[in-house]
């Protein structure tokens, strides 16, 4: 076929600079052997044009298509885990193999049966939200088949905690310790962390040919933070490159851990969780079980890098060595970690019985682990210096603030992201300045770029929604019987994808200790809401309604 004909003709300008947005659709209605272009959508309709996966099927459903792709990627991950399980001679290899079959089969059927025709803003929220929900639920299947947990909902909790990069665990509550699990299951657990870190939708669309503007909506809905940094013009290319950076970073971390003295399996497993700022570990007492200052140092470096914008790492790989220095968000992030660590260490040293060495080691590690939303712990046992729930109260309050902030936008970390705090601060500052100078017009600039007001509104609204959801979450979780401070820590920590929380669910405890079964499900939901940054999880409920019914636009709220 003629290459020139398989591409739609360029947009034409009609007099007065009006852009003709008429959508042209390829059809085979004309003469045999020739493709003709028919006008199928005349008039003003700014919806993005048709895109199709090369393997597309019959039904138009971007949601199921992308879910199918994501399931197939997860099948690859579980297959690797199954091989590891067999290689180590651990008992659950067949369960993992069966899960591989389920994931691969279901994914293949879904992908072949569907295609992507139209993808607008509302749909991209629905795609991201529902895909994550389905993947998180399906992610419990390997645990259930292997009989890892006593209850099915514990499997779901662990799966959600993994994919959302939270790192809260229900192991070692009434279950066995983490160490007694098979290597394959442990690797699968780390891989859920790793897949969720960069984003499974991003992974899925990296193999799709092109998604146009709707694809950008997908990335915007899934990627942490409000900005979308275009590395390259084509979205699938961008997704691929981000994943290359991610894989490279993970490999470097694995080498680093090996060099610091970990075994090969532990090194790989921990590098997966570090790059994802997830926080799952193969040991009960996390990094603390190695009790090595070198491993802790390697983890700190990895966690800080994992909390930075991955576009910057990409720029570094492109030999733009000043990329980090030029980024205002990164500077504030590093400064915040520095100040936070300094304050926490000095409070610990002056006000509590810990020595300077102990407070420095415990303070710096935990500041970084919680300031990047990773959630590794360096407590060797309950009550040791690294067990931050046994600290004096003041540093714990500061840590709770870190729970909220999290890392940078475009990173794998959780929380509301540093740039949102920056925008919010400038917003409040503008209101205060406007009181003093009534007619002041002050654009909000972060990082040298002016932020358009709709985006500012979105950021501010996000922060407000975040606090409302936290408040509701605390009431609901306490109503299910949790202690007040445990609930505050658990809810804020789950929303920020931290891992360990305050009071009864500290770094040496399991979430079973502080929360009952329904409360843990609420926390799992909050983890998903926090990871997807609220909007997809709320709007995935309205988007289908909007697709099925013609909803008249509102005139006022």
């Amino acid at each position: 076929m003629d290459a020139a004909l398989s591409r739609p003709p360029p947009l034409r300008l009609w007099g007065n600079g009006v852009v003709d947005t008429t959508t042209l659709k390829r059809s085979k209605l004309g003469r045999a052997g020739r493709t003709t272009w028919n006008i199928v959508n005349p008039g003003w309709d700014p919806r993005p044009t048709l895109t199709t996966s090369s393997q597309g099927g019959r039904f138009d459903s971007p949601l199921l298509h992308i879910t199918g792709l994501a399931l197939m990627w997860m099948a690859v991950a579980i297959a690797i885990a199954a091989m590891v399980e067999f290689a180590y001679g651990d008992p659950d290899g067949w369960a993992l193999l069966a899960s591989t079959g389920i994931f691969g089969g279901a994914g293949y059927v879904l992908m072949r049966a569907t295609k992507i025709e139209r993808l607008d803003t509302a749909q991209s929220f629905a795609v991201v939200g529902w895909t994550w929900v389905i993947i998180c639920l399906a992610g419990a299947i390997p645990y259930i088949l292997a009989g890892t947990f006593r209850h099915w909902d514990d499997a779901i909790f662990e799966s959600v905690s993994g994919f959302s990069c939270t790192g809260s665990t229900v192991f070692f509550g009434y279950n066995d310790s983490i160490e007694s699990q098979g290597h394959g299951i442990l690797l699968y657990r780390q891989l859920t962390n790793w897949a969720g870190g960069m984003g499974i939708v991003l992974l899925a669309i990296s193999v799709l040919p092109s998604l146009g503007r709707g694809g950008l909506g997908l990335i915007g809905a899934e990627a942490p933070g409000p900005s979308s940094d275009h590395l390259v013009p084509r979205l699938n290319e961008m997704a691929k490159r981000l994943w290359y950076v991610y894989v490279g970073f993970t490999a470097i971390m694995a080498v680093g851990y090996l060099g610091a003295g970990m075994g090969p399996f532990d090194a790989i497993a921990h590098s997966l969780a570090t790059a994802a700022t997830g926080g799952f570990s193969t040991r009960n007492s996390s990094i603390g079980s190695f009790d090595s200052i070198w491993i802790e140092a390697a983890a700190c470096v990895g966690m800080i890098a994992g909390g930075m914008n991955f576009a910057l790492h990409y720029r570094l790989a492109r030999r733009e060595f000043r990329a980090y220095d030029r980024d205002g968000e990164t500077r504030v992030y590093l400064l915040g970690l520095l100040i936070g660590a300094a304050v926490i260490v000095s409070l610990l040293w002056f006000d509590s019985p810990l020595s300077l060495g102990e407070s420095a080691r415990a303070g710096i590690f935990n500041t970084i682990a919680l300031g990047t939303s990773t959630g590794f712990g360096n407590a060797t046992s309950a009550g040791s210096p690294g067990d931050f729930v046994t600290w004096i109260p003041a540093p714990q309050v500061i840590i709770l603030a870190f729970f909220v902030v999290g890392g940078c936008s475009g990173s794998t970390s959780g929380g509301v992201k540093v740039v949102r705090i920056q925008v919010l601060w400038r917003y409040v500052h503008r209101v205060l300045q406007r009181i003093r100078h009534r007619n002041l017009v002050l654009p909000i600039k972060v990082n040298g770029g002016r932020i358009p007001d709709p985006l500012v509104e979105k950021v501010v609204g996000f922060m407000a929604l975040y606090s409302v959801i936290v408040a509701v979450g605390i009431v609901v979780v306490t109503a299910m019987g949790a202690d007040l401070m445990t609930a505050v820590g658990g809810v804020v920590g789950s929303m920020g994808n931290m891992g360990p929380a305050l009071n009864q669910v500290g770094p040496t405890a399991s979430f079973i200790d502080g929360f009952n079964r329904p409360a843990r499900m609420v926390l799992a939901l909050l983890m998903l809401i926090g990871r997807l940054e609220i909007f997809p999880m709320l709007l995935m409920l309205v988007a289908p309604r909007r697709i099925w019914r013609k909803v008249r636009p509102r005139r006022h709220i």
Binding site: S227, D229, L335, Y427, V475, M485, R554, I557
Partner: protein
């Protein structure tokens, strides 16, 4: 040379008042008036205490009388040298609000220290708690305090409540702090004010507030409280203050009649005074239709029913549950039970009630119902605009469009509230507070509620008022939060900003470091 710079003065003449009358500074005259009124009220409280028999108690009355007299005299003399400002900018209005409260607190603290009963930190804390109508107390057992002290504690709360209403209806419209009170430049605000002239407003506020106090006094008398108790309770009820004459707040007034009187009184005190003005001035329908009033009543009923059902028990227990909910929601802060012994979910609800606070236009604190309502509408709009990015929508209240800058004010006020809770909690915890108590105390102080519920682990599990055990610096932090919360955060910050402008300019190098522009490679695309 000096004479030339003052052309209106006659060089070399004898004493000339004009020489000392500077241009009408915005702050000076209101401050002088504040000194006079606080001084007079303080002196009156001192006189009320002169009837006490024992020497030590008599001492209090004398100290209050002297400090009050001196303050009033200074104010009176000072006011002769300044004129009332003709017009105010919003910055001036905020500076006035901030400095008026600081002055009142300082005068009151001086009186407490002069009486010899309280240390400096306790005196400042008690003054701030009184004049901001918070109701945290540094007195172990108020029943042992002198009559003068008890009277002044109640009167200071009453004066604080009156000041808030005057500020809300007289000054706030100048900077549009609370949308419902805003009266633009000489035109009536969206949901009505008490008038457009400050004198009208002041007269009406005094009338409503005063008659409400009298009604409450009579009601407490009829319900069986003694004369002095009725006096103190009525003053602290109408101002949503929360001081009482006994240790353990309202727990020792264990009479059903008194508690029901207090419940109704607190609920009314937490509602907007504008509503009552409408109700009594012939537009009852407008009051009835107020969305804010409906939200407030609805909130009270829903949370009250939840608390009553969850706690269960007999009629007395139900009454106590309702009492507690109304007390927290109106930010009065009377306690009849220790809420720390309630189920954690109810504690969490009470915590939220403290954040939400009373209606705007009342003497109550917190973020105010109207702001919370706007915030929820704002959130709904944000959500809607994610699906329809090009939509242009207005937030509405009482069927009228709310200006965008008012919405922005409201959102950032809520943000600042959150920041201040965090900073306050760090401050209280850093000076020895328990983890959960420091959060609750910060919110309680910022919303001007008062009680700090929860078991203090340091007290070995026994029920001790969390505030009493706090260190002096922690009390300073709480006092600061009370003032910031009372003024609605903005005035305090703007006044501070004016104060620290030169310092801020010096700090520009730091902003330069944080906000440095990129020279090449373009800014981040948004």
């Amino acid at each position: 040379m000096i004479e030339q710079s003052h052309p209106q003065t006659h060089a070399g003449s004898e004493f000339d008042l004009n020489r000392f009358v500077r241009k009408p500074t915005a702050i000076a005259y209101p401050l002088a008036l504040t000194l006079v009124s606080v001084g007079v009220l303080l002196a009156l409280s001192g006189i009320a205490g002169l009837g006490d028999s024992s020497g030590k108690r008599l001492n209090d009355g004398l100290a209050f009388l002297i400090v009050g007299g001196v303050a009033a005299t200074i104010g009176l003399v000072w006011s002769r040298y300044y004129r009332m400002p003709v017009s105010l900018t919003s910055r001036n209005a905020m500076a006035i609000a901030t400095s008026v409260w600081c002055t009142m607190i300082v005068v009151s603290a001086v009186a407490y220290v002069a009486s010899g009963e309280l240390s400096l930190s306790a005196a400042l804390f008690e003054s701030a708690s009184g004049l901001t109508t918070t109701g945290m107390t540094a007195l172990e057992n108020p029943a042992e305090a002198s009559t003068a002290m008890l009277t002044w504690r109640a009167v200071s709360q009453w004066a604080g409540g009156l000041g808030v209403l005057l500020m809300g209806f007289g000054l706030l419209p100048l900077y549009g702090g609370a949308y419902s009170l805003r009266a633009g430049q000489g035109r009536p605000g969206p949901s009505g004010t008490l008038g457009t002239k400050f004198t009208d407003v002041a007269r009406r506020v005094l009338l409503l507030y005063g008659s409400f106090s009298v009604v409450m006094f009579v009601a407490y008398l009829v319900a069986g409280a003694g004369g002095f108790d009725s006096f103190v309770l009525s003053l602290t009820t109408v101002s949503t203050g929360g001081f009482t004459n006994r240790a353990g707040s309202f727990k020792l007034y264990d009479s059903a009649a008194m508690q029901w009187v207090a419940i109704v009184g607190m609920a009314v005190a937490g509602s907007s005074i504008a509503i009552w003005w409408w109700a009594f001035s012939g537009s009852a329908k407008r009051a009835y239709k107020s969305v804010q009033l409906r939200s407030y009543v609805g909130l009270l009923i829903v949370v009250g029913v939840i608390a009553a059902v969850v706690n269960g028990g007999d009629a007395d227990d139900v009454r106590r549950s309702i009492f507690t909910v109304v007390s927290y929601s109106s930010t009065t802060g009377y306690e009849v039970v220790d809420a720390g012994t309630w189920p954690p979910a109810l504690d969490a609800l009470l915590f939220m009630l403290m954040v939400v606070g009373a209606m705007s236009g009342s003497a109550g604190g917190g973020l105010h119902i109207s702001r919370i309502r706007l915030l929820l509408l704002y959130l709904r709009r944000v959500l809607y605009q994610q699906v329809h990015p090009a939509s242009v929508l207005h937030v509405k209240a009482n069927n009228k469009k709310v200006q965008e800058y008012v919405v922005a004010n409201m959102v950032s006020a809520a943000t600042l509230y959150g920041f201040m809770v965090l900073i306050g909690a760090v401050g209280v915890a850093a000076f020895g507070g328990q983890l959960h108590l420091s959060f609750i105390a910060a919110v309680s102080a910022l919303s001007n509620v008062g009680p700090v519920f929860g078991v203090d682990a340091g007290a070995g599990g026994e029920e001790v008022d969390g505030v009493l055990r706090m260190s002096a610096p922690a009390k300073f932090v709480l006092a600061g939060l009370m003032i910031a919360g009372r003024l609605g955060v903005y005035p305090a910050l703007v006044a501070l900003g004016d104060l620290f402008d030169p310092v801020y300019a010096k700090l520009k190098w730091m902003r330069h470091f944080l906000d440095r522009r990129r020279s090449d490679s373009g800014a981040t695309e948004w």
